[in-house]
Amino acid sequence: MADFDFAFLIEVLVGGLLSGVMYSLVAIGFVLIYKTSGVLNFAQGAQLLFAALTFVSLVERGLPFPLALLVTFVVMVLLGLAIERTVLRPLVNQPPITLFMATLGLSYVIEGVAQLLWGTQVHALELGIPDEPIDFHGVLISQFDLFAAGTAAVLVGLLSAFFRYTHVGLAFRAVADDTFAAITVGLRLPRIWATVWATAGVIALAAGLLWGARLGVQFSLSLVVLKALPVLVLGGFDSILGAIVGGLLIGACEKLAEVYLGPYVGGGIESWFAYVLALGFLLVKPGGLYGQKLVERA
């Protein structure tokens, strides 16, 4: 064991954790919507792709970075509002499985429209971060990953604070806890839901930019969302803290597995490891680490 490359282990671990923060960011978008309306928004990935594509295409057409960002921001908010209005509101009394399938259809629409509008080629997304790794006591850390994780962490922190300390955040939580009671105390549901979806759109924008810069803006970006599902299983579908911890866990374990277990089975296990990990978790702790134990009112 003397020449076990600890530095490499740390490197892989850190890389995984940084990845994990980015997963958490996507997962929080899910949690936000699930907590307040019980809908598992499969279209989150498509929104991510749409945001990234719109931004990158605007920049390529000559718009300066801040303006492109602003325009995309507005577009995503409008998209979120439009989704809530046209798809979610008509389906409001339907069982969760129906709503999920609707978001599935929605993801197809958004992906298709995004690519019809902006084309199907791959775009590089430059956020201005140099790609050289930092050498920290012999451990190589990607500057970009660090920046992305940092940004994501800041956003996650802001969102958590938002939920906890602002009026709107409080309203979101009230609706999530007991929709009926929330109506009773005068919270306007449609308005809240519209805000929720608009916020989710903004989260998609942030995540889309970060992931797009990392992987390149291409169709497979919308599949990033799929990795958020194991995160939700681990962390609980309705917990922000769970999304954070779950994301970190998934990110780290996935990377470690790929590097240390992968070679034994030919590599490529990143495509499924997170899911199987989540499956195993289901056997042990079904509610997730922080998911609320729902009391069934029969």
Binding site: M101, A102, L104, G105, L106, V113, F237, S271, L283
Partner: protein, 363 residues
């Protein structure tokens, strides 16, 4: 208390008159029997006589395979209310298992490898499904996604599955049943048709039995089902097992009868979604829904590409076609879920009612 009553009333208000398609009657009326008989007659008699090989090979056979997959998924998702996103994985398992059994077990009849393919799919399905079937919510969706990604990876990684073939793509075995070679378009069509008709008939019967009703009960109110004595876990497992079996057989059909090659690529996540879309558009919890949906899904890209070329000329290339397909499909799904959750099957019923010359009975 009255608001609760209002909520319940809202739930119980009918969107349409009770549809025969949704009530699994113990005995179907004579009209439905004649209808089915006519369809079967046309399928066995008229189609082979008049359809061109192109129609048989490129349209009808994939239609049958996808419809069968839809029937299987509908049993699980439509009737038992458990969402699966991994149907294509089970189709893949069926196809590859059938291929390997056929290859390595000498003297195994073709239909035997079909059945073994289906059973293998069941085993894999249960392995992934068991942890989450105990739970409610979206966990089965995550499990089946796990199966989807894992199966695709395993089939590509381990060349044993493809008999160490260099290109990773293998040919399906010759189609010989009871000494008769079916390796021509009509033969293949009849083979697929018979298998699909048989399995569909069994499923149609199943949903009318107590077991089938148990599926519906678990879907509609799992808690009440548990309280009256339905073993919920066993019911879900059974639905999942049967559904995976059918998906496996559909996979074998897809590979052996339609494509005549066996490769993992065609059994990706998009395929899983496609099957789900088939039953959503066709009509959840109906048997005929899978067929309506599959017909739409098979014919639709062809129509769209013709239409697109007509309207937009050369701009409408394959990339645009792909994306337009996605958009239209997505819009169809959302529209159906909002406007007619019972899908094409319900629209069909309404059409029949309008066309029938019997006076409407007062409900």
């Amino acid at each position: 208390m009255s608001t609760l009553a209002c909520k319940t009333l809202a739930h119980s208000a009918p969107q349409a008159a009770p549809l025969a398609a949704n009530v699994p009657q113990a005995r179907r009326n004579w009209r439905q029997y004649t209808g089915t008989a006519l369809v079967l007659l046309a399928a066995y008699g008229l189609v082979p006589a008049f359809a061109s090989p192109y129609w048989l090979d490129a349209i009808l056979i994939p239609f049958l395979a996808l419809a069968l997959a839809g029937v299987g998924l509908n049993l699980l998702t439509g009737y038992a209310g458990q969402l699966s996103l991994g149907t294509a994985a089970f189709m893949a398992v069926g196809a590859f298992a059938a291929y390997n059994f056929n290859l390595r077990v000498s003297g195994l009849p073709l239909l035997g490898s079909f059945v073994l393919g289906g059973l293998s799919a069941t085993v894999v399905g249960l392995a992934f499904g068991l942890p989450s079937l105990r739970l409610r919510g979206f966990y089965l969706a995550v499990s089946t996604l796990a199966a989807q990604f894992f199966v695709q990876w395993a089939l590509t990684k381990f060349s044993w599955f493809t008999n160490n073939n260099a290109s990773g793509v293998i040919d399906a075995p010759p189609l010989v049943v009871l000494g008769v070679s079916l390796d021509n378009p009509t033969g293949r069509y009849l083979l697929a048709l018979t298998i699909v008709v048989l399995i569909t008939a069994l499923v149609a019967r199943l949903v009318r039995t107590q077991t089938g009703h148990n599926f519906i009960a678990v879907r509609d109110n799992e808690l009440a089902a548990r309280v009256i004595g339905v073993s919920v876990l066993r019911t879900k497992l059974l639905a999942f097992a049967i559904s995976s079996f059918i998906a496996g057989i559909a996979g074998v059909l897809w590979a052996f009868v339609y494509l005549r090659t066996v490769e993992p690529a065609g059994f990706n996540l998009d395929r899983s979604f496609q099957i789900l879309f088939i039953i959503i558009i066709g009509g959840l919890a109906t048997i005929r829904g899978a067929f309506f949906g599959a017909a739409l899904i098979v014919v639709f890209p062809l129509l769209l590409s013709r239409l697109g070329a007509l309207l937009f000329g050369s701009w409408f290339d394959s990339g645009v076609l792909d994306m337009s397909q996605r958009v239209v499909l997505g819009v169809l799904i959302i529209s159906f879920l909002i406007v007619e959750p019972e899908g094409l099957a319900a629209l069909w019923q309404r059409l029949l009612k309008k066309l029938s010359w019997r006076p409407h009975s007062v409900a």
